[in-house]
């Protein structure tokens, strides 16, 4: 009698290997789920197999199956420490407090020796803090983008076109070629970095403008060539006067401007508007400013842009080099004034405080407004009203005062003119100390001494022109005067007010002064 064949025992190792393969590779999620649902198999597995099963269930993100396998492991093999450990870790990961309590109770009941494993309390702050992510480069970049956006908002021109500056260094010529596309932030970035230099056409396609510009160029004969002392001083003084006076005159008309060293022949005074305005109205307003200032200047020529009222259809109208960047011919960087060669970001940041002019300002221009001090000079005008009047009247003295206010050094002649005019004002001490106080070699005692040595009458206009080697005409006298000097333009000024301390009016005074001087010399002579 043949023996009945025994059913072959099930190889649970094979089932588990298949389960592991599916779980590790994620090859067939449905088959994996199916296999994990066959809980009756758990009763047939040994301790290590149950642990592997539980891990496979975790890989499949089937927490119920994992708990079932681990609980079976605890029930059948309570002394398996690794099982308790993994079960505790699983419950702890999800913060399952009731589950942890149940596990602890089960452990106490089945394997009290492993109670330490399941009673472990998580540390309050077990994990490290992430190191800070270096986000500064992005912050800098975003800030730069914002600054460029603002720059493009202020310096707006024709929408569909801008210009690129070219230079031929061999012939020393430069010019612009139109770029027939809108100006982009990338192009502005190139311009600011000095890689290319761009200009904008001031008139928009609709024939309006967002910008008016006064271009103050150094006269041709003063450019490039080595200047002699007289010319150098003239340029320096007129420049200081121009940079201070033009914004003052503009403020008088309620117009705000941005002053820029163009990197080339001179300076640009940009008048940005919040909305597109009529170019003719801009030209009228700026032309008036230029006309008031031009007679005071011999070294600079003022020109107003845009020169066109409308676009004729043939050309693109005037263009002006964008501020900042580098002038291709001179190789010099352009910069905003007042200020030093700060880095580009700081220059752009200063533009954020710029006030755009309202179009209505052009409609209500006063015919000839009285001279008002610029807000920056308001304190000076308030403290020293006579000085303010004097600087309004005399551009040469105004130039020297502007140099003082810019903390620039004075030449001996400039200092002599200053003393010879302001030294005869009633409040001369306060004014002169205030003006000269910022000079590098300021010595209050010496200033007092120089004031004390002033004699006679103020310096005459002819003498001042000669000292400063000015080629401009003398100003017309305000009335019938025998001796023309700047103080005659100050209403109410009289020589007696000047309180010149050591005035010599007769021979007696002269002898007294001589004796005093000799006593002083004797004091320093040796005894024998």
């Amino acid at each position: 009698m043949a023996a009945t064949p025994q059913p072959r025992p099930v190889d649970f190792g094979l089932i588990l290997a298949r389960l592991e393969h599916l779980a590790l590779t994620g090859a067939d999620p449905e088959a994996l789920r199916q296999l994990l649902s066959e809980r009756e198999l758990l009763e047939e597995l040994d301790a290590s197999q149950l642990l592997r099963w539980a891990r496979c269930a975790q890989m499949a993100q089937d927490r119920d199956a994992a708990h079932a396998a681990l609980e079976t492991l605890h029930q059948r093999f309570p002394h398996d420490a690794l099982g308790w450990q993994e079960h505790h870790a699983l419950l702890e990961t999800f913060g399952d407090t009731p589950g942890l309590m149940r596990l602890r109770a089960l452990c106490q009941q089945l394997a009290p020796e492993h109670l330490g494993i399941v009673s472990r309390v998580p540390k309050p702050s077990p994990e490290p803090q992430d190191p800070p992510v270096p986000e500064a480069p992005f912050t800098r970049q975003a800030h730069m983008e914002e600054l460029i956006r603002h720059y493009m908002h202020i310096f707006r021109g024709r929408e569909d076109c801008f210009a690129r500056q070219w230079v031929d260094k061999a012939t020393g010529k430069s010019g612009y070629v139109p770029v027939r596309e809108p100006l982009t932030p990338a192009a502005v970035r190139e311009h600011l970095a000095g890689l290319r230099t761009y200009g904008i056409y001031l008139l928009t396609q609709s024939g309006r403008t967002y910008l008016g510009v006064i271009d103050a160029d150094l006269r041709k004969e003063l450019r490039g060539a080595r200047l002699d002392g007289r010319e150098r001083h003239t340029v320096r003084r007129e420049l200081a006067y121009l940079l201070g006076r033009l914004p003052e005159l503009a403020a008088e008309q309620k117009l705000h401007c941005i002053t820029e060293f163009s990197g080339g022949k001179g300076y640009h005074f940009w008048f940005p508007f919040a909305e597109p305005v009529d170019p003719a109205a801009v030209r009228t307003a700026l032309g008036r400013l230029a006309a008031r200032l031009q007679p005071d200047l011999t070294a600079f020529h003022l020109e107003v842009f845009p020169k066109q009222d409308t676009l004729s259809g043939k050309g693109l109208g005037n263009l002006v080099k964008l501020p900042l960047g580098i002038h291709r011919l001179s190789g010099k960087p352009s910069r905003l004034l007042p200020g030093t060669r700060e880095d580009m970001v700081r220059q752009l940041e200063r533009l954020q405080g710029v006030v755009l002019n309202a179009a209505s300002v052009l409609e209500s221009l006063p015919p000839a407004a009285p001279v008002l001090p610029h807000p920056a000079a308001a304190a000076w005008a308030e403290d020293f009203p006579t000085l303010h009047t004097l600087t309004q009247a005399c551009p040469l003295v105004a130039g020297i005062v502007a140099l003082c206010r810019q903390r620039r050094a004075l030449s001996l002649r400039e200092e002599r003119v200053l003393l010879g005019t302001i030294g005869f004002l009633p409040e001369r001490r306060q004014v002169l100390h205030a003006l000269l106080g910022d000079q590098e070699n300021y010595n209050p005692h010496l200033v007092d001494y120089k004031i004390s040595r002033l004699r006679g009458t103020p310096l005459g206009c002819r003498k001042i022109h000669a000292l400063l080697e000015s080629t401009r005409d003398l100003c017309p006298a305000p009335g019938p005067v025998r001796y023309l000097h700047p103080l005659v333009f100050v209403p109410g000024w009289r020589l007696e007010q000047a309180e010149v301390s050591e005035r010599i009016t007769n021979l007696q005074d002269a002898l007294r002064e001589l004796r005093r001087a000799m006593d002083l010399v004797h004091r320093f002579l040796p005894a024998h």
Binding site: G26, V133, E145
Partner: protein
């Protein structure tokens, strides 16, 4: 300066008075001394003079060329006159299938440990059960890897781990301006994927540089099979750094809103690309030059972050950690260490 990145298109490198000069439009924009220069990365269509090439070789400067989109393209291979023993050991060990599988297992286990730890940390931090579940699953994958697995199984587990990881990666993005629906490569289809791919490339170049310095052959690895032009060993050894170095940096920048969507150019792109040129031309997303510049600066600072090395019990930069790990890998190949252990992020406090 140890590292120089030349990112501007059209840059020309020339030698000026013993220095490396970066020239754009005829103007020198940067000058770097060759002394101390260790790595030069040129992206896009940069060119260099013969004198620079010679100086780079003389100073043994690791030079890596990337495509305009940041893909690794080439490396200046110097004559490796040293470390012959190391390379011989590498060829011998990695020709043995069992040893190769063992090393691959170790690398994948390290990667899975890092991924699991990162997800569990963030899951607790954000109180998000989906992150915890994914972290637990990857942790189980690492624990469930057999002691003697086949290479196929190791690769399968690595792929499965990555699928789980990137399945929940979108939950780690806490900036509503960005979304992440899945990992896409060649080409990346959204800004987050573009960031991951870019940083991954640069990080791989970093590992490749360390491998060259240690004297191993970067083209023969364990987990990644040999493929023409692929630095397989660098691809292997970068795995342990992806999560805590690359992903943590990207997520930090995105979640702190340092990166914004305006820093990317998005284009409508076809589902599939016919050839490489089309892929380059019609990339669905690319980073703007400013974003690349800022990202590289951030990356460079990040790699200089000092971290505790539990194996040496000291603090050093991430860059130095990578070099140390490559040295440890070489030590294992020459038999000085019984096993290669990827960087133990779980011990970093």
């Amino acid at each position: 300066m140890e590292r120089v990145y030349v990112l501007e298109p059209g840059a020309y490198l020339r030698k000026e008075d013993g220095n490396l000069a970066v020239v754009r439009h005829g103007r020198t924009v940067e000058r770097v001394a060759f002394d101390g220069l260790k790595t030069l990365t040129v992206m896009g269509y940069g060119s260099l003079s013969g004198a620079v090439l010679k100086a780079l070789v003389q100073h043994r400067v690791e030079t890596v060329l990337l495509s305009p989109t940041g893909r690794f393209e080439a490396r200046l291979v110097l004559d490796e006159h040293k470390h012959v023993e190391r390379r011989r050991a590498q060829y011998l060990v990695l020709s043995n299938p069992a040893r190769t599988a063992q090393i691959a297992r170790s690398i994948v286990a390290g990667k899975l440990r890092a991924q699991a730890r990162f997800l569990l940390l963030r899951g607790q931090q954000y109180d998000d059960e989906r992150l915890l579940a994914a972290g637990t699953a990857i942790r189980a994958l690492e624990r469930g890897l057999p002691a003697q697995p086949s290479l196929e199984l190791v690769r399968g587990a690595e792929g499965h781990g990555s699928r789980i990881y990137f399945g929940v990666f979108g939950l780690l993005v806490r900036n509503p301006a960005f979304t992440f629906t899945g990992r896409t490569r060649r080409p990346p289809r959204d800004p987050i994927n573009a960031l991951i791919s870019y940083v991954s490339t640069v990080l791989t170049a970093e590992v490749l540089s360390a491998i060259s310095r240690v004297g191993l052959d970067p083209y023969l690895g364990a987990l990644h099979e040999v493929a023409y032009g692929r630095p397989s060993l660098a691809c292997d050894l970068v795995e342990e750094w992806r999560t805590f170095v690359a992903d943590r940096l990207i997520l930090g920048l995105v979640n702190r809103r340092a990166v914004s969507p305006e820093g990317f150019i998005l284009r409508p792109a076809p589902e599939a690309f016919a050839h490489e040129d089309e892929l380059t031309e019609k990339r669905p997303v690319s980073m703007k030059p400013g974003t690349i510049r800022a990202l590289m600066e951030s990356y460079d600072t990040w790699m200089s972050t000092r971290t505790r090395d539990p194996l040496a019990d000291d603090h050093t930069t991430l860059r130095e950690l990578i070099l140390r790990q490559v040295r440890r890998f070489a030590a294992h190949l020459v038999g000085e260490a019984p096993e290669y252990r990827p960087f133990p992020w779980e011990l970093v406090r």
